[in-house]
């Protein structure tokens, strides 16, 4: 079996609007268990599980939890980042719409372990259905005593508020997200300090992705050691994959880390339809690398992803068949990031204008050898000097194709007659 349903095991079995269904399927059982545990033991179990953040960057979750737990502040916050705006990603939407209580339970356990008293779930405005389902779920959890004061007679107080986005991709970046919850334009902050030191309203804050929080009850249930047996040595547990593009069966699939891209695309996705050929695959979403067919035996694993210097780990796989022109794809990506750039730092703001101009020259076969040099150096500068993840990861797709599909760039120059 290629799939391993851990976080998605209740999909279709429970009515997402019914907390009773969730409870009947072991829901909030792990919260009860966690409330009997020492706070430090919970963080220890998360450390043993080797859980890494599922939003893309793959940061070890226990380090952030420990960071928050150590802060002496009276007020501490927990934030669930449900601003899933990276094109090609839809697994958080699936988690929120099919089983909303799971991520809420993970938040409550995390809050208990770290001493936080208030939580926010920030859901992007485009996800209307998820917003109403999660608001309903939070209210139900409060009615049942899983949120609010003295949760399950433990003496622990914690409540959650749902906030919604208003159409700004950059707000998925954690500092921009904090600004947005504070009611401001979503422009990133200079770091350090990191959110666990100085986050929302200047208070220590733990920010995790929807899927990351979903893993917390699972770790409480099985223990960190048993959890770490799923997946690979460096990437434990399962990953929800958003599979889209030119495949027969696009959708959300949960697999253990370590399966290959080819297995996901061919076996779960059914391969490329209508006997066309696979040309390239983009990993992670618009911000990820574009790789050729011969690399598909690569395993889904944080360490492999890190070779691309990008936040590939959110788990999107976008399959492109041989009808598609590389430069059409790159232009879409560059236009997207140019539009979403918040304009705060120069490399990102000005860089996108120039990148777009250069990619268009290649698309229209008007490019010169000098354009290739400019494109290459500009992409590097943006990647290295932008202030936040948006500008740093936007040129990744381009940089990867300059390596793997370099011939296509050269072809475009030759046809133009060069300089």
């Amino acid at each position: 079996m290629l799939e391993k349903k851990v976080l998605s095991k209740r999909f279709g079995l429970v009515n997402p609007l019914s907390i009773k269904d969730y409870i009947e399927h072991d829901g909030y059982k792990n919260l009860r268990k966690a409330l009997q545990m020492e706070k430090i033991t919970i963080i220890d179990e998360v450390e043993k599980s080797k859980l890494r953040g599922r939003g893309g960057a793959g940061f070890p979750v226990h380090i952030k939890m420990m960071g928050l737990a150590k802060e002496a502040s009276e007020v501490k916050y927990i934030i669930n980042n449900a601003d899933e705006g990276e094109p090609g990603n839809f697994k958080d939407r699936a988690l929120l719409e099919n089983d909303p209580h799971q991520t809420i339970e993970g938040m409550i356990i995390s809050a208990y372990a770290t001493g936080a008293s208030k939580g926010y779930i920030y859901i992007r405005g485009e996800y209307n259905r998820a917003i109403s389902i999660v608001k309903w779920a939070v209210d139900q959890a409060r009615d049942m005593g899983f949120l609010g004061e003295n949760i399950l007679d433990s003496g622990f107080d914690f409540d959650i508020e749902v906030r919604t986005g208003a159409g700004a991709y950059v707000v998925g970046e954690e500092f921009a997200l904090l600004e947005s919850i504070e009611g401001k334009s979503g422009r990133t902050r200079v770091k350090p300090p990191f959110p666990t030191e100085k986050g929302l309203f200047g208070k220590p804050t733990l920010i995790n992705n929807v899927e990351t929080f979903c893993n917390i009850p699972v770790i409480i249930e099985s223990g960190g050691k048993a959890y770490a047996k799923i997946g690979t040595a460096s990437s434990t547990g399962t990953k929800l994959i958003s599979l889209s593009g030119n495949v027969k069966n696009p959708g959300v699939y949960e697999v253990p880390f370590g399966v290959t891209l080819r297995d996901v695309i061919d076996i779960l996705g059914g391969g490329v339809p209508e006997s066309r050929k696979l040309k390239m695959v983009q990993l992670g979403g618009a911000c990820g690398p574009i790789i050729p067919e011969f690399m598909l035996d690569m395993k889904i694993d944080y360490d492999r992803f890190e070779e691309f210097e990008s936040k590939t780990g959110a788990g999107a796989i976008i399959v492109m068949d041989d009808r598609h022109n590389l430069f059409e794809i790159l232009l879409r990506i560059v236009e997207f990031f140019g539009h979403e750039s918040c304009g705060k730092c120069t490399p990102c703001r000005e860089g996108h204008v120039q990148l777009e101009r250069l990619v268009k020259r290649f698309l229209h076969k008007e490019s010169t050898p000098k354009d290739l040099l400019s494109l290459e150096s500009l992409a590097r500068v943006m990647h290295q000097t932008s202030l936040c993840g948006l500008g740093q990861s936007s040129p990744i797709s381009l940089i990867s194709t300059l390596g793997y599909f370099r011939d296509e760039y050269h072809d475009r120059i030759e046809f133009s007659g060069g300089e």
Partner: protein, 154 residues
Amino acid sequence: MQLREILEKYPKTEDYLIEILLDYQKTKVHHYLSEEELKEIANYLNVSESKVSSVMTFYTFFSMKPKGEYVIQICHDVPCYLNDQNSVQKTLTNLLNIEIGETTEDKMFTLEYTSCLGACDKAPAMRIGEKTFTSLTPNKVKAILAEYRGKKHA
């Protein structure tokens, strides 16, 4: 609903600005806020008008100009592009006789791009108001437009 009623649902703290703007703009037929309304919101939260204005211009959901009654937002990110979003967009611009960013003369439809709707497994996708339409084809788009036009005349 009156703006005052919506304002009074929220605490008078700055961090509710975006929630208030979203909540109120939803009630407006042409999906925009006037300068007077902007002032009233600024006064209620005790923040400057320029602050409200800067937030409104940062987030794409907000508008200071009237739009069509139905705002059609089409996704043009890569997964939709790979599934022939081009022909869907062409059908829309032809049938409505407007380009992206424009509003029909009868003020019924505005056509815009949206960022990814998270419906990539059922691409191409678009939204009209809060409703998402997926697995679009030119014929499906024709039928959807006819339905919305019918609503108006019903």
